[in-house]
Symmetry: D3
Subunit: 321 residues, 6 copies
Amino acid sequence: MPKPFVSELVAGSAVDAVFLLAERNMAHKKDGNPFLTVTLADRTGQVKGVVWDQVERIAAAVTEGDFVHVRAQVGEYRGGLQMVVKDMLRVPADQVDPADFLPTTSRDVGKMFDRLREMTGRMQNPHLKRLFEVFWADDEFVAAYTRAPAAKMMHHAYIGGLLEHTLSMAVLAGMVAGHYSGVDRDLLLAGVILHDVGKVRELEYARRIDYTDEGRLLSHIIIGLSMLDEKLGQVPDFPPVQAQLLKHMIVSHHGSRAFGSPEPPKTIEAVLLNHIDEMDSRVNSIREYVAKDPSDGSWTPYHRLLERHFYKGPGPDTGND
Amino acid sequence: MPKPFVSELVAGSAVDAVFLLAERNMAHKKDGNPFLTVTLADRTGQVKGVVWDQVERIAAAVTEGDFVHVRAQVGEYRGGLQMVVKDMLRVPADQVDPADFLPTTSRDVGKMFDRLREMTGRMQNPHLKRLFEVFWADDEFVAAYTRAPAAKMMHHAYIGGLLEHTLSMAVLAGMVAGHYSGVDRDLLLAGVILHDVGKVRELEYARRIDYTDEGRLLSHIIIGLSMLDEKLGQVPDFPPVQAQLLKHMIVSHHGSRAFGSPEPPKTIEAVLLNHIDEMDSRVNSIREYVAKDPSDGSWTPYHRLLERHFYKGPGPDTGND
Amino acid sequence: MPKPFVSELVAGSAVDAVFLLAERNMAHKKDGNPFLTVTLADRTGQVKGVVWDQVERIAAAVTEGDFVHVRAQVGEYRGGLQMVVKDMLRVPADQVDPADFLPTTSRDVGKMFDRLREMTGRMQNPHLKRLFEVFWADDEFVAAYTRAPAAKMMHHAYIGGLLEHTLSMAVLAGMVAGHYSGVDRDLLLAGVILHDVGKVRELEYARRIDYTDEGRLLSHIIIGLSMLDEKLGQVPDFPPVQAQLLKHMIVSHHGSRAFGSPEPPKTIEAVLLNHIDEMDSRVNSIREYVAKDPSDGSWTPYHRLLERHFYKGPGPDTGND
Amino acid sequence: MPKPFVSELVAGSAVDAVFLLAERNMAHKKDGNPFLTVTLADRTGQVKGVVWDQVERIAAAVTEGDFVHVRAQVGEYRGGLQMVVKDMLRVPADQVDPADFLPTTSRDVGKMFDRLREMTGRMQNPHLKRLFEVFWADDEFVAAYTRAPAAKMMHHAYIGGLLEHTLSMAVLAGMVAGHYSGVDRDLLLAGVILHDVGKVRELEYARRIDYTDEGRLLSHIIIGLSMLDEKLGQVPDFPPVQAQLLKHMIVSHHGSRAFGSPEPPKTIEAVLLNHIDEMDSRVNSIREYVAKDPSDGSWTPYHRLLERHFYKGPGPDTGND
Amino acid sequence: MPKPFVSELVAGSAVDAVFLLAERNMAHKKDGNPFLTVTLADRTGQVKGVVWDQVERIAAAVTEGDFVHVRAQVGEYRGGLQMVVKDMLRVPADQVDPADFLPTTSRDVGKMFDRLREMTGRMQNPHLKRLFEVFWADDEFVAAYTRAPAAKMMHHAYIGGLLEHTLSMAVLAGMVAGHYSGVDRDLLLAGVILHDVGKVRELEYARRIDYTDEGRLLSHIIIGLSMLDEKLGQVPDFPPVQAQLLKHMIVSHHGSRAFGSPEPPKTIEAVLLNHIDEMDSRVNSIREYVAKDPSDGSWTPYHRLLERHFYKGPGPDTGND
Amino acid sequence: MPKPFVSELVAGSAVDAVFLLAERNMAHKKDGNPFLTVTLADRTGQVKGVVWDQVERIAAAVTEGDFVHVRAQVGEYRGGLQMVVKDMLRVPADQVDPADFLPTTSRDVGKMFDRLREMTGRMQNPHLKRLFEVFWADDEFVAAYTRAPAAKMMHHAYIGGLLEHTLSMAVLAGMVAGHYSGVDRDLLLAGVILHDVGKVRELEYARRIDYTDEGRLLSHIIIGLSMLDEKLGQVPDFPPVQAQLLKHMIVSHHGSRAFGSPEPPKTIEAVLLNHIDEMDSRVNSIREYVAKDPSDGSWTPYHRLLERHFYKGPGPDTGND
């Protein structure tokens, strides 16, 4: 039986399902008795809840970050929904489907990866082609690469987002390499596929999407270069100059020092990679922002990072009538 | 007989051809007699020259900016070429081919314009399609639009450069509109074709490429909007919202206030226009910079505006051997 | 009978008057019965309210943005006033005086406009004088121009604010034009009067002050230029150079690209316009900020945009005594 | 009997002690009767409270900023502690120990000052040595100098913080002056001791740490220079060049105009002062931020001003397991 | 007999006059004999010269910065003028009129100062009025204040420039104080007159305009405050708050930290002072730039600091004809 | 016989020694015969020269960047020295002492390295101690590490500069680690020694100091991390968390993204490393700038990068006397 999602809850119904225990706070009633306020979450959202009974037992058995089996009644409080929890039990992580608890790409991950592998399989440059054979032969890497999000918040911030973003860029790279003469198509494609590869270790995405210690200390650019170095060691006779040009694309793909690249793009392929990355990230980021906006006017709320409202189309007539 | 170009001159030869008189200075020999030092130019470069005889007559007859018919002997001075000019006569502008004196696109202008017109002819949106019929029916406009450069110095800074830049962007826009769902292809294409239309009046490009008074006072964004307003007045029933969205693309195509756009892009089409414009301008600008670099190392000289050297490919072995 | 204003309400009194329904939220009591929390507003401020009875009927009859006739008792809740609403009825917009619901200039609009018209009537330059005759003959324009605010929030953000700001600048412009020799007084005055003219369409100010779609897509600079273009078309033989210089003043009046002007001021009149505008906006903005601060110390709260506290005068003795 | 501190309060106990009345608001119960909500504070934190009885009498007797003797019962409300206040009486400021109400250095102020005085006593330069004799002979100055905090919030933001910061820098200055040849050790030390001297008047720190009117109007750099000028007037024959170099160190110690120094450091001693100041301030600021973080993960919360999380050491295993 | 100025020299004439020896370099002819190349200057410009004879004697007698009596023949060399110097003798500084060698205001210094003194004489505030009596009674100060330039290069960079700039601002301040209600006219005027008073010591202007050591180490803001402190000490009972407000105007008159003010303007008078200062400096700076431009097109050369060309009026017809 | 250095040449003497041929240009006399103008260099400076005889033979035998044995007569030309070259022969690089041709540290390289090795030998942390044993056992690395400069131009831009800079920082790090409690001394020292290790490959310093291709494409931060990765692979059981913290110090040592660090310092040791590096680089950079300034006033010329003049001490009396 599929899990009822937070976005589907209605006041008055009973719930018997698994959620992620996002927050848990002990409080006290006026009579001195304790109670628990909790926040329960899945990939569709969050709902507040309260535990009036068996507070000590439940508080001892579950902690923040646990998956919990909840039996509750859905009510309303201050204009929002509130679960009045009857019981709450810890559930081992291997008994839940993580896809229920983290936002996930709407595309077919298997097909996306097949398409990417097909692209590298058609490369003319034998060294680059061989390099990707080494990457794709590493099952642990492929599992992480096809599961990782592309970011914590900004764009493609969901399971499979890295692959979706990379494939979209790879398709664009193919178009652009055909449009401008003198572009090394294989090198550009290789740079696209590897530019964010460090994100598989920069981020954690088992139960929630957040930075790892390594990610905060080193950044995905540094981690990705180290991963590439390791794989390059397994490709005999990889030309040193080509290795430097490929690394340069990872190093410079943010476009400038101000955005975290120690060096700016200095080859035409690195310049193109930077532009394709910016365009694809920006388009995805704006679309998700617009899609998530529940308001019904012509404009989204102000986007603090991009410093503007986005236009959603003409709304009902307004103005100085 | 084709004109001998500055780039083809060799020491020891005689010259009998037309050049642009770029500079002219009167000087005096130790014996008190005057002489002229001149700079002669065409689209391939500049050469210094000196006039020893009939100085007063020649000085009175020609002025900077004139086309001049020159008879001279090519010599060497301080390691460079120097023309010793025997005679110099003013030539009316309508007797010279301006293409000899200004750098010009290497593409076929007629074919490029045909391709662009074909694109607008296939538009589904009847209002936009009609708008471009009005633009293309204006012969004076088409003559300027197909001749104008895209910039004074940065990119596509040559006769026909605006058209070359616009067509390249239009092709990219077609690809990108097919890649992302939900993009209004006709609107994007219209924005691409009109985004720099104000450059036909922002710049002058009769004998040299420079800003006009109007260009410096108003900028091509403002001029282009005024040109669009005028043509919109000739399209009956053009929907006001669509007109605003199209104008918004011109207004915002530089991407941010810091780059001269009063408003940043707020629709997906305006965002894409900005990215395509930046990519195409940057690629052209780097390629011209690399192409013009006569040095033979692995790197171009430092590019002051882009704040980096560009890599031209591995050179001879260097380093800490 | 004049409407009782929000700022005049006192606990314990009864109210029977029209307010703007700024917010309306449905909530539920512990017994499951619904109630409404509302925010009622007029130009003097806002007050919270609650509706306990006939909730469904009232909720169905009024929506946010409506003018509503309210019968209520004023009480206190959590240290603030709260209206306990007995009944609430929708009132058509044409039955209310908008000036009651939007902040309005304290100056006499008619007198201000007369003074401005007198100034343009005394212009020596026949073209500029004629241009303003065309503007002032457009009743719809004059109605909007004398009613528009100068901004949504920053300065002169009230009905009539644009006119008040413009007149203040015009007076300063007259002084400055007399102080510095060689300034074209009529041109400076014309630039002052037209610099923000696009705000009549950039903003809506019927019931609240906010941006219009056109305003967000194009900005008042672009809109103002288009309005000027239209009026210039009605002045025969307006000299093109003068038109460019006048447009340049609108284009550049924000002083730099960073503040939204595509070109910086390049004539002495444009430079002066920018300085006068900055001074008058800043003075008004600080004064309103200080005037609205209810605290009684020597300093206003921190002004986030201007990044400082403002000094209000010596307060009671403090310090390291 | 030592005062019970806020951080030591436990639910269920009775309190009979002095606190600072940080906030006081009048509210009304549903029955119309008034009550007071208060915030009581000392150097260890704040606690909310409520006064149900004798509200009018108490409200008339105490005002915000007063020290108040409180008799209360400690309870819980919404998961936090709440004092139910029985009575509250104003206490004159001279009857409390200010150190109970403001955070204070953990070092021994007397020993720190002795060490600093010992350093100036060993100076070789007779003029600088004499200058500090004049400073140290001013009892009022010494009292303030040894009591002042170094900042309102950023670093060493506690009583005695200025002295602690200055001494730490003085010790570092001694090391650095020995490390680099050609540094004027006495001048560097003098600059260190005087660089923040204006903070004794820029800040008030009698009951709370905040800026004074003079501090906000002039800044500690300007105030410190004026204080130095006054003392220099009491040292006969102080060499003018040396006075300028010493003043220059105060003027430039923030390193650049962007950080509030009218001139950047232009002597080696001023450069070193700036670096030592930045290092000591930064280290203290980070340490206090880490020390105050109650969370138990590997990272502090995001530090808005320094724009990063800080690493607190490896926590429990997380990540993509 | 008035001195012939550099700007008046013509080729072929003889010169017998005093100049400033701006540069002096020893060189050697092919035959091994030494010669001197020199640069001679006065307030109208510079001219190159050469000394072929008596080189050793002359070289020993004059040094850079000296006033020198020159006998020479004016010739041409490489298209410019060149003095062939027959003899050159050092002239004591007190035998020359410094006004011949430094650019000087075109206004009457005595009249300007009288007008300023008249303004302070009419002040209503007895403390401020008395303060200026103290300033004006200091003859040495008045001599420097009426002679100092306002800057080295940017604006009013000539003898008497500080006074000219200050008086212009004082007149504007009077207008503005009358325009806005609630401005303390005397305080604003006092701030205007004193805001740049530190320039009399920040700059040297005996033979050339340059920074003094004190100026580079402390800046005119700091020096001016110290000068004000000294004079305030001579006014009995000057109110401390007023002293702080006056100092605040000097401290903040550059408008922001980025421009060298440790604190931004926080009173209405300080805000106005900053705006008036910026406007007057900018207008003067642009006018001098335009006035010095010898070119005859519509535009000045690019102004590096202000990052634009300035428009000088419509030139001959150009463009895409 | 030691080589005569450029700085020691005097007019009239004969030279018979090896120089670096920095520049070589072919030119032609008026009679059509070719001659060579050359620039000859060693670590003390450059001198111009000319070759009148056997031009073709010499031109064919030597190229820019060669070491050349020169026989010449030293003369003067236009106020500078000029070598009239009789003969010039190419010399193999292995027959010259590179130290003659590149600026070199004035410290004893062997002693500096011994001192650094002694420091790592005293480390308490066995893993870090072992890591440095691996580094020091790599002879090729040590040779490069003790020879590399620390920069191309900014600071320590001479052979041995990296070692000198690193040792100076290591000594400071020891002091600072003792001053602040809770600092991991070994980790800080390890970070200091490795922070710039990538410079041994970022720069070339065989004949001149310049960037390598790898340096420009990747930057020394990236190269250094790769070098560290390789050595870490040779230390069994190096704790992963410690490896990340050490890498983080390299990653973040420039302090912020704007200066090329992908992540800012997030541990107290990384923060200290950044401060010590900035202080030592800045001090060395200023000192070299002051030391190279031949002028005799109180101030250096304007330092473009640091945007100020530096004070060199009181000069002769100047000013408004």
